[in-house]
Amino acid sequence: MPRALIAFVHLVEALNYRIGRLAMWGLFVLMGVLAWGAVARAGFSPQIWTDEMAQFLLLGYFMLGGAYALQMGSAVRMDLLYSRWSDRTKAAVDAMTIFTLLIYLGVLLWGGIESTQYALEYGERRRGMWRPYMAPIKIIMCIGIVLMILQCTAFLIRDIAKLRGVEIKERHA
């Protein structure tokens, strides 16, 4: 395998690992914001920002954490046949069908970029009392989708390497 590709795989996986770890701990930020909303409402005055901030946090959590979750192999597969195949067969089939993910994520990104452009151009805000700008969360979602695409590309390179008899080392963790 060309060394550049191997370096790319390691770079992508290291990046996704770090960002994913950050998103992972975001769970407690989400808890904090929701808990603060409840405490403030019971104690003094209802906060207008906590609900929407929590919604943004959940989106950020699974969009930025998505690539790391993929790395961990958490995505469900229908393994009726898959579980019976050899590693080589798995790699060969995965190398072809990974395009389903790449195409889905690509179209998702296409829509995301358009939607982000719209949010920036018109200064889109969310309805309600707080009215936060929508562009930041849309940008974060686009970044998350890009990270997922990079991770899938890394999977593809790993599978091709496996078919050529090369094992790319796990180095990110």
């Binding site: 994913g20 998103a23 992972m24 701990w25 769970l27 407690f28 989400l30 808890m31 929701l34 808990a35 909303g37 409840a38 019971a42 609900d51 929590a54 919604q55 943004f56 959940l58 989106l59 959590y61 699974f62 954490g65 998505g66 790391y68 979750a69 993929l70 961990m72 958490s74 995505a75 469900v76 597969r77 229908m78 393994d79 009726l80 046949l81 898959y82 579980s83 195949w85 798995k90 089939v93 995965d94 072809m96 069908t97 990974i98 389903t100 993910l101 195409i103 889905y104 994520l105 179209v107 998702l108 990104l109 296409w110 829509g111 995301g112 358009e114 939607s115 979602m141």
Partner: protein, 441 residues
């Protein structure tokens, strides 16, 4: 090409590509975006997939999902349930099949503290299974008990599956949870009845515990163990009481529950940084799996809606087959159970439910009641081969002496019991609807 053809083609190609074993969310999303662009590519179409993120964001109860998943992991990773198991062990040991009955009760308590069946499965397989095998319990009985018992996690509140169903059926989560409680307890009761009857007829299946072993436990210890039963009740109360009294909202009570479980594990000295890290990491992994499948399935659903696929399914059932409303419902449940053999419950939820819920609504059945039927069907799907989440977990967690064949055979009587429970709730809807009726008049 007619819309019906396209819809059928979408569904068919999705199942085909899924068979390759590629990640499910990618397959669902792929079929959705290809169809959307193929159909409406000349004017938009490609933006449908991304627009679903906003739909997902708007749906507030979805935030309970990572919370209940985290709660379950805290419970299983920090081994909070050890004392609980011991309590049932000591108290039910002298009854024939008593340890199996105790395991079902343990599962009920665990179900009240988490939203999925994973935690029950993990606790059952790591704590209960080795103990029961050591005491010569029949291995088919034991593996069946753990799989059936842990599946109660999605029926007894809190339930993540009912949260997702609520999103699709647009019904209040609180009503659904209330509706799930009695059927969950009823199923537990039927499981216990089955175990007791079987073990009475054939005491070798679940031998009584050795009196010498019990003699080692002092009376004082025996009663102290009862206190450990307060822990799950306490967590459940801390989570639910402020909610019922109106101090916290649904999502906030899920946070309270997660924090309460965390607090108990810290107080009991069971929590370490390493365990917290594992819980947090696994929560991310499972939450992402769910959320990405939901996101992809929302896109699939939007295209299906765009094709009027519901009209097509409706026409098939009503006009072409000329069936009455109960016949259609029963047919739907059967098709659901059949699909459950091949599909994961998440996939069933996000792909099949959006097709069936409008039909149930049109047939004027109660959607809260149907949510319970639906969840029990998902429980069955969890356990039926060849494709079942619980089966795989069991295979991964069980010791070597339990073969895959054993696991497959072990669930047969319990699936029978669940189908009986399902029929009872169909015939007597009040089993599900009585409690929400009382709580939310």
């Amino acid at each position: 090409m007619s819309y019906e053809m396209i819809a059928a083609l979408m569904f068919g190609s999705m199942l085909m590509v899924m068979l390759t074993g590629q990640r499910m969310f990618g397959v669902i999303g792929f079929v959705a975006v290809v169809a959307a662009i193929g159909l409406w590519g000349d004017r938009g179409g490609h933006d449908l997939a991304f627009a679903q993120t906003i739909k997902l964001m708007n749906w507030f109860p979805l935030m309970t999902l990572p919370m209940f998943i985290f709660m379950g992991y805290v419970l299983s990773e920090s081994k909070l349930a050890d004392d609980l198991y011991r309590m049932f062990h000591v108290w039910f040991g002298p009854v024939p099949g008593g340890l199996a009955i105790g395991t079902i009760l343990l599962m009920v308590l665990i179900s009240a503290m988490n939203g999925l069946s994973v935690a029950g499965m993990a606790i059952g397989a790591t704590i209960a299974l080795p103990e029961l095998l050591k005491r010569n319990y029949n291995k088919l009985m034991v593996t069946g008990v753990i799989q059936a018992g842990s599946s109660l996690g999605i029926l007894v509140p809190p339930s993540v599956v009912l949260v997702l169903y609520a999103m699709i059926a647009r019904q209040p989560v609180t009503h659904l949870w209330a509706a799930g409680l009695l059927p969950g307890l009823m199923l537990a009761g039927l499981f216990i009845l089955y175990i007791w009857l079987r073990c009475r007829m054939n005491p070798d299946l679940g031998p009584v515990i050795d009196p010498d072993e019990l003699a080692q436990v002092t009376k004082r210890e025996k009663y102290l163990l009862l206190l450990s039963g307060l822990m799950p009740l306490g967590i459940f109360a801390v989570m639910m009481v402020p909610f019922v009294l109106g101090y916290t909202r649904l999502v906030e009570s899920s946070v309270v529950g997660a924090l309460a479980a965390l607090a108990v594990s810290v107080l009991k000295g069971r929590m370490t940084w390493a365990i917290l890290e594992v819980c947090t990491k696994k929560t991310l992994a499972i939450s992402c799996m769910f959320l990405w499948i939901i996101l992809a399935a929302l896109a699939f659903g939007a295209v299906f809606d765009g094709l009027r696929a519901v009209d097509f399914v409706r026409a098939l059932f009503m006009d072409n087959l000329g069936l009455g409303r109960w016949e259609i419902l029963i047919l739907m449940q059967i098709s659901f159970i059949l699909m459950g053999m091949f599909l994961d419950d998440t996939a069933m939820l996000v792909i099949v439910a959006p097709l069936y819920v409008p039909i149930v609504r049109m047939l004027e059945f109660d959607l809260i009641w149907y949510g319970v039927l639906y969840t029990i069907t998902c429980q069955i799907a969890y356990m039926t081969p060849p494709f079942g989440y619980n089966l795989f977990l069991m295979r991964a967690m069980a010791p070597n002496e339990v073969s895959l064949g054993d696991i497959y055979r072990s669930i047969i009587p319990f699936v029978g019991v669940m189908i009986l429970g399902l029929s009872l709730i169909m015939v007597f809807p009040q089993i599900a609807l009585w409690l929400p009726g009382v709580l939310f008049p």
